[in-house]
């Protein structure tokens, strides 16, 4: 099977060049229409660029799905003396998520072009691409692409003769999940501990280096050149009314073909699993799906007959998040799977907030004990109550993200927990 695998039901916009190494160079990228949108945007007033993106209905792909054009419009418009920043969030590390790194690897210029258009729209003169330190290969590729963009006059002073100058800096983090949270990212970029900041003040008022700042996900800005080139109407014609456009679904777990698939929002989850991804591995049955990366509630197989857009997934009691779909077959040990996720959050908690610092590890301890056959029936109540105390009480939502899979898995797979507690399942060692 060629890599990356492509499926005929995909609507390839952002991923059109995936698999074409030539697209990593500026010449190769031009064949895909590269930098036309930037030229077009630089000829427009910043507010007009924002209006186009607003009209397209593009929503942030970093997890929360907030409308991108609206976010850009929060940036101050009148004060041109004070520097503004655009930060591109390339820190992707949510368990299950692996879409941004593919965009960075295959289409670095798409990211750069989108970032420059975004920067122009919010009047930023500097873009930082904050990339997780472990993304060694993407860092090489993006670094080279930035150099090329400067050489070609697409970045730097007087871009494409427009009189507008925007700089791009690639910044490598040291690899901490919490540095993906937007204010943690800003702290890390400034050379401080990667810890989320209290809001307000919001980034658009006081962000990186105490200046107005916008943070956008890699996939979000990657969509922008296409919207500029083909228009907001075209973008709206894909997807659903409230969730327009295409989305990269990064599917992992027990399907035949794991990978990234670009599909219109609103695509049926069952079709994604059984058609696009070739069904459940080894002919097994579906047991559960986490539709949006490990921080969203788990769905039981019976709840999976839904469409994958922000509204439909929310209506089903979960979230689309980063559309990092984790598929689990009937052999999956839910207790173990959730315990692993909880350990991740415990390990990655920045440690500022008491409910998160203490609650994530306490949750992990109880989960480990249950998995080892030492749990009691009370433990499930404790887990739920600890989770409630961890929800809505902290500076950022990492704490909530840890509680969500626990609560939803107890609600939907209580029997499996009870089987552990009654020692009906051999305890075994705590393995990965």
């Amino acid at each position: 099977m060629a890599y990356p695998y492509k499926h005929e039901r995909e609507t390839r916009v952002l991923t059109e060049a995936f698999g074409d190494p030539a697209a990593r160079t500026i010449e190769g990228w031009k064949k895909y229409g590269g930098y036309e949108a930037l030229r077009q945007a630089l000829g427009m007033a910043p507010n007009d660029v924002i209006e186009v993106v607003k009209a397209s209905g593009l929503r942030g792909r970093g997890g929360a799905g907030f409308p991108t054009g609206v976010k850009w419009s929060f940036m101050p418009r009148d004060d041109s003396r004070q520097p503004h920043y655009l930060l591109i969030n390339a820190d992707e590390s949510e368990p299950g998520a692996f879409k941004d790194r593919e965009l960075l690897r295959w289409t670095p210029h798409q990211v750069i072009e989108g970032a420059l258009i975004g920067a122009h729209a919010i009047r930023a003169k500097h873009v930082y691409i904050y990339m997780r330190g472990e993304f060694f290969e993407p860092a090489q590729i993006v670094g080279r692409a930035i150099e090329e963009a400067y050489e070609a006059g697409f970045a730097g002073p007087d871009m494409m003769g427009s009189g507008i100058g925007i700089d791009i800096t690639l910044h490598l983090g040291a690899g901490a999940y919490i540095c993906g949270e937007e204010t943690g990212l800003m702290n890390s970029l400034e050379g401080r501990r990667g810890q989320p900041r209290i809001k307000p003040p919001f980034p658009a008022v006081m962000g990186a280096f105490s200046r107005p700042t916008t943070i956008n996900n890699v996939e979000t800005v990657s969509a922008v050149p296409h919207i500029m080139r083909r228009g907001a109407e075209w973008y709206r014609s894909i997807g659903t009314e409230k969730s327009p456009g295409t989305k990269l679904f990064n599917v992992s777990g027990h399907v035949v073909r794991r990978g990234n698939y670009e599909l219109p929002l609103g695509f049926p989850m069952k079709d994604l699993i059984y058609d696009v991804c070739g069904g459940i591995r080894d002919g097994r049955e579906l047991k559960a799906v986490i539709p949006g990366g490990s921080s969203v509630p788990i769905l039981a197989a019976s709840e999976c007959d839904i469409n994958l857009d922000y509204e439909s997934v929310a209506a089903a009691g979960s979230m689309l998040g980063t559309a990092s779909v984790i598929v689990m077959d009937d052999r999956t040990d839910i207790v173990k799977a959730v315990r692993r996720m909880v350990e991740f959050y415990s390990h990655e908690s920045c440690g500022q907030c008491t409910p998160c610092r203490e609650g994530t590890e306490w949750t992990a301890k109880i989960m480990r004990r249950i998995e080892a056959g030492e749990g009691t029936a009370d433990d499930l109540d404790t887990l739920l109550e600890v989770g409630r105390n961890m929800t809505g009480t902290t500076i950022c939502v990492l704490s909530d993200s840890c509680a969500a899979p626990v609560a939803s898995s107890i609600a939907k797979f209580r029997d499996e927990y009870m089987a552990r507690i009654r020692r009906e399942v051999p305890a075994g060692a705590l393995t990965v």
């Binding site: 209290i198 390990h347 990655e348 008491t354 409910p355 610092r357 609650g359 009480t393």
Partner: protein, 533 residues
Amino acid sequence: MANEQTENVTCRINGIEVTVPRGTRIIEAAEQAGIGIAHYCYHPGLSAPAMCRMCLVEIEGVPKLQPACVSTVAEGNNILTESERARESRKGTLEFYLINHPLDCPVCDKSGECRLQDFVHAEGPKHGRLRDAKVIFGQDDFGGNILYDGDRCIMCTRCVRFMREVAQDDLLGVVQRGHRSVIDTFFEQGLDDSPFHTNIVDICPVGALLDKDFLHKARVWDLDHAPSICPNCSQGCNIRIDTRDNLVQRLRPRANPDVNSYWMCDYGRHSYEWMNGTDRIEAPLVRDGERLVAQNWQPAMLALLDRLKQRAGSVRIVGSPMLSNEDNGLLARLGSLLGAAAPVYRSARAEDEVVLPGFPKLARRRELAANGRGLSALGFERVGDDRAQGGLTSADVLIVLGDELADLPADFGRDASLFVYLGHRLHPAARNAHFVLPVSTFAEQEGTFTNFEGRVQRFWPALQPPPLARPAWQVLGVLLAGLDDGPAPADAANAFLRVGSFFEPFAGLTYEMIGTRGALMNEPVAIGAGGGD
């Protein structure tokens, strides 16, 4: 802009209406309404990171609970600190604290003034539900005066922020992340050379930071507390003297925004052993030939008055910057009645000031005594060198208050026709006195000091003096009365009024006006313009 700053907002907190300037934080507005909001990370002298999550309160119409330490009140807010949700949240947070916190209370130095103990007692869960092993960090010597108990630390980062923001000497940090977080120094670079670092012990809400000096010395509920003024330099930091068994166990800062904010220096904090000295003069001593004979006050004072009335020749008066305005003021008055030349005093001076960068109004001043400024306002002249030595000569009539004369030759004052010594300890030179009168130290009496900027500040008695020691103002007041200079003052407040009646800088001031925050005397100097420091 000025309008915006002075604009007020009105809100309700637990049903009580409060009007405060726009921008006031909920926790501070609540304070004004007499409502205390539980908190750990917030400290009024530091930035607020809103991380302990103890202060979450409900604001009607706002979906999530909000941290009262950073959220500002808005017009019309209806804030509830005692709603079901707010209480449940505090209870839940306290349970999180108790997961790893060892209940060392029976041996913990903080027990009795520990905020975790207090809050858990007030509204914590009845039982902890942790069935698993606690995390163990153990203890760490941070150098300087500090021992760190990682297991008791609740990660409020007050200590880190103090060192960063107030001491501006970034010697502490959080290392690791999540539940593995601990406070640490940078490798072997401890706190040794940082002159204000012991303040972190006071602001640590639990027993995680321990002052090696106070370690295991006393249970805090066994301590008595007296509001006082640090006597160890002319800054005049407001302090609390904590005593047990009539011994000073520790000094702690008392908040005064005009003088020392919440802080004091380590030098001042740890210079208290002298107040506990045991080799005190126990009774009035009157010379009989070569011997000093113990007497009761009355015969001693009558004899002394007699001698004073018959005095001949020049009179020299020596005062003490470690004693109060009242003591020295009446001494100076006595001097002028006796026709003495300008009174003198000696005091030690350090080479430089040690400024607290985050609150530069506070410095360990050069003058290492509390009341040099008061003495100069009373007409005293400073003599001797920076070690408080030399500069004293004998005279026909010599009256010395408080100066121990430790550096002077054993025959000093022997040729005086009358040598009166009012003090605490009997060094050889003082043995030459005709009258040795035991007076109390500042810690044993009520009185006032005048700090370097001319702020007159009150202190209260912390220790019992030796049974026969008396405040010097009382002894001098009786002498003045005996010389027909008005009635003897009945108490320290009265003595202070007397001093004000003789010395213009103190005229019109009363103890009421001075209160607990001090009042400027009539000829203050601008900070930094000198003034005896």
